[in-house]
Amino acid sequence: MNASVVVFPGSNCDRDVLHALGTIAGIPATPVWHKETVLPEGTELVVLPGGFSYGDYLRCGAMAARSPIIRAVREHALQGRLVLGICNGFQVLTEAGLLPGALLSNSTLEFICSPCLLRVERTDTPFTNAYREGALVQFPIAHHEGLFFLPEKELQELEENRQVVFRYASADGSAGIRQSPNGSLNGIAGIVNRHGNVLGLMPHPERASERILGGTDGLRMWNSIKSWLEGGSK
């Protein structure tokens, strides 16, 4: 069971993810420079970490989505293997066409750095099988472009296909655009592709994986991935 964490110029959460996977969750993880054209042998999970790849120039994630390694990541995804994009990584996945939608500037026009409550909408994915459906979890967010956007018809399709995995929520369990700190349509914080093997989310599970960092709700994501890879739960 090996994970590869792609490093773009401007990535800044790659080490956090390597630490969360390798040290805390016990999933051996190696960094992979974006100019590589193949993933290390035995890679079962690819993580595109947060940060500001290429300084967010042109559009967030646009240039990273055209990096040499992305061809290998696309192939990996097409084979049904796991890809996880966190924050800037989510933006890269939408720009690469591996996930639908686009992330626009927050409706508040501010960079938001804050703990955030999320409602787990699906527990039948490789990334969330250790959560309870409807559970409220707390991951931090730290972004300026996190407003999830899709035109109305496609948004409806996304909902009908049950592709929303995390929604911004309040403590009473309600979730939606009103609970969304950044104006995300339908309160969407994280989605999967149709097949369910590619997840993108704006909040940071790797920053919620140790008590000393203020919470451990992110641990279940690594445990989900682990048990899915071990074939224990689907």
Partner: protein, 84 residues
């Protein structure tokens, strides 16, 4: 031949333009009460060489398609001039 292409990229109708909204508020605060809407886009200027204007146009269109424009949220228009 050398060409200069000016590509104007704008957000599609219906896509929330938060920058435009903030700028509209600022203009109103300055007393420009008549401002109804502000949309902010970007302009990209590319100097390139090509055999003909048609070829230059084709290059620029491919660049828009492959990187410069995200068709889900943006539209673009191109103007081209020969510069020698």
């Amino acid at each position: 031949m050398k060409f200069r292409a000016r590509i104007l990229v704008s957000l599609k109708e219906g896509v929330l333009d938060t920058q435009g909204k903030a700028v509209r508020m600022s203009l109103k605060n300055l007393g420009f009460e008549s401002v109804e809407e502000v949309r902010i886009g970007k302009s990209i200027v590319i100097v390139l060489s090509a055999e003909s204007p048609a070829e230059a146009n084709q290059y620029v269109e491919s660049m828009c398609e492959e990187l410069l424009v995200n068709p889900l949220i943006e539209t673009s228009s191109v103007s081209l001039e020969a510069i020698g």
